[in-house]
Amino acid sequence: MTATALGMPQVRHGVGNIFEHEPFPEYAKRELKNEQLRANLGFATHKIRTKRDAVTSELPDWQDLRTAGSMIKQQVMANLDTYLEEFERNFTAKGGHVHWARDAHEANEIALKLIQAEGVTEVNKIKSMATAETGLNEYLEEFGIHAIETDLAEEIVQLGDNDRPSHILVPAIHRNRTEIRDIFRRKIEGVNPNLSDDPAELAEASRFRLREKFLTNKVAISGVNFGIADTGTMTIVESEGNGRMCLTLPDTLITFMGVEKLLPTVQDLEVFTQLLPRSSTGERMNPYTSMWTGVTPGDGPQNLHVILMDNGRTAVLADQVGRQALNCIRCSACMNVCPVYERAGGHAYGSTYPGPIGAILSPQLGGIENEHNATLPFASSLCGACYDACPVKINIPDVLVHLRGKAVDAEKAQGEFAGGKKDPHYQMDAIMFGAKKLFSSGKLMGLATKGLPVSKLVTGKKHKISKLPGLVGGWTDYRDIPEPPSTSFRNQWKKERGAAPKRVGGSRVDVAALMEANKTKVAEAHAKAEAANPIIKEAQ
């Protein structure tokens, strides 16, 4: 291996639920037909969006907090090796056991052995993205161990047959109250057969079932929001209190932790405990913040484990542009503002990680060349709403474009297209090649646009184009194209005004000085607009 010989770390992609299983456009097309999903997503994302806007705009230092969050995470990623070893030392010194897992499969195996050592067949779980990534529940099931999800929405998903989460914060966002009532009536033993769809009654039914699990199961499994390097402290923020139950009641606690989850010091939490709840649920503060540092004799779990998992994260770290995806704190703000997510829904992304962050994380964790991960970076109109919403300033649009470049390179490296000339990739290549030739010369543009009148033959009497063939037919499935003009601007201009000299010499106007002189004009224009045409906001 040349790479090893040169001392270069080999890129090792992860396994597990980090793949898109079919091309995103096809998956999305099916999901778009699900009216229930569309309605729920539209309602929920708009509601969370409004709440998030309110609690982030009320903080005068919100932008500074975002910058601080971004910089702390960058520092962690730049020194990840040091922080990981520091964390391991401190976690171990305080009575915990550290396990290292190269990928999802190893992480699952470690967890299984630890559970089997306790001789139990049922474990409680706190909602965790890391274990969803590794597919832990299904893995344990193969060995006769039932993992009980204790987060209400995760419980709904788990009890719903063949269902899976569609949102990282509100995993059952695709379900409505009636569906939840039906699932509970069917799946919860001893539940009131006349259970209504009233949220309080539904929550009570869940509480009734879970309380017994909390009090009897001896092993719990969690993820983690933040691990503190200099103390070995773990932190989980949550809303329902089920996490607190799982973290304090069992004898054995096994925590799955992606290697990127570290913060250098406890003080750094002051930034993240502000950023996370406000970005996530749109709350000023989450109801429960649990922190635990090692084993305290006679209080809480006495058998404490953490599984530090790579699963492709070092591959992400190796990409200078893409590595910022590791800064993600799983708040889900990006999906709540994403117009693509809002319509296609979380399942369309295949992976555990949906939405804009999923579109940059899955292809990097699992490899862009694997399964249909290469279609994920294209599942965006590049509107940029995700970047503005991200509490740690991950420039998702830039990473999407960067990964599009990698996707095209990977596809070109493959050579032949499976679908021949009808293959969408072949058509895309042809379009891009033609456009490159055309856009490489103004003269050629002038000549080509002389052909514009010919297009009138296509548009006909309706003065529009309503059907195009092949890949670009996607445009005319939903929209017309106007009749092109009889001449391009450049040809008209050349005819009328072609004589202007290119060089006139003299000094340039000082634009910066003009802008300084006019710096009040933006506010002035806005005030005049308000006076001329006030916008009447109707009560919502």
Binding site: R343, A435, P482, K528
Partner: protein, 265 residues
């Protein structure tokens, strides 16, 4: 000032009337407008589609075309294409190992302005009716294009100029900051999702009762207009430069095929 018009490829080939309207507004303010004939495209279509190698000659063409001319500033009737210059062109040239073009691209981008930026921040225009003679007696709503809003941080500049046009009645669209679903090649590569996005946008536009939807990027307006046309809606889309160019003496006609004629000088 000597202003170099960066028409953008889509305006040049599909909406020459928008370039003509831009020229009309600029000349009304006494500026000399030149059009570097070598220009083609900002390269954004290639970059955003992941075709970085193919984008490089397009970037070089743009930089070369403008460097052949003396001018004070370049102006374009597009937020998206202007944003692409500074945001993407240097990256593409750097990637090709062409540092000279990267530097020249960044310099050119620094003196290229979106039309509303130029009018307000450089020319000090705050009232279109009074200072530009703009007159357009229609009920108008406005779509805020993403790249102008989030990459150039145009704020309400375009919208404010429209709202001060004489005779114009303004109405604001629900979810104004939501993408229309265009997204370049996204519009046909992810046609169904894009179609769902523009369907919602069109619904919100129709809810306002406006006869015209305006905006600062013809690409978005072509998307919105195409969807309106498909459902045979009477609502028309026009670029805000056309509304600014429209005067009492030479009013903008909004219906009918696109052509080079615009409102009067």
């Amino acid at each position: 000032m000597r202003v170099a018009l960066f028409s953008t490829c889509i305006v040049d080939a599909m909406y020459p009337k928008v370039a003509a309207a831009t020229v009309s507004v600029l000349e009304r303010l006494g500026h000399e407008v030149v059009f570097p004939q070598g220009q083609t495209c900002c390269s954004q279509m290639h970059v955003n589609s992941g075709y970085f190698d193919d984008a490089y000659p397009v970037v070089k063409t743009h930089v070369k075309a403008f460097s052949e001319w003396d001018f004070d500033v370049a102006v374009a009737p597009s937020g998206s294409c202007v944003a692409s210059l500074g945001h993407q062109q240097p990256m593409i040239a750097e990637r090709a190992g062409d540092t000279a073009t990267a530097t020249a691209a960044a310099d050119l981008a620094a003196r290229t302005f979106e039309l509303s930026q130029f009018l307000i921040d450089i020319c000090g225009i705050t009232d279109a009716a009074e200072q530009l003679g703009s007159y357009f007696p229609e009920k108008v709503t406005f779509h805020a294009s993403c790249h102008g809003m989030r990459l150039l941080r145009l704020g309400t500049r375009q919208e404010d100029l429209v709202r001060t046009v004489g005779g114009l009645e303004y109405t604001q669209i629900e979810d104004q900051d939501q993408c229309c679903g265009f997204g370049g090649t996204f519009s046909f590569k992810n046609a169904d999702t894009s179609g769902a996005m523009v369907a919602d946008k069109v619904q919100h536009i129709e809810e306002t009762g406006a006869s015209v939807c305006t905006g600062g990027d013809v690409s978005c307006l072509m998307n919105i207009g195409g969807a309106l046309s498909r459902k045979e809606s009477p609502v028309q889309t026009v670029h805000f430069a056309e509304i600014l160019a429209s005067t009492k003496e030479n009013p903008l006609k909004v219906s009918g095929p696109v052509s080079v004629t615009a409102g009067g000088k």
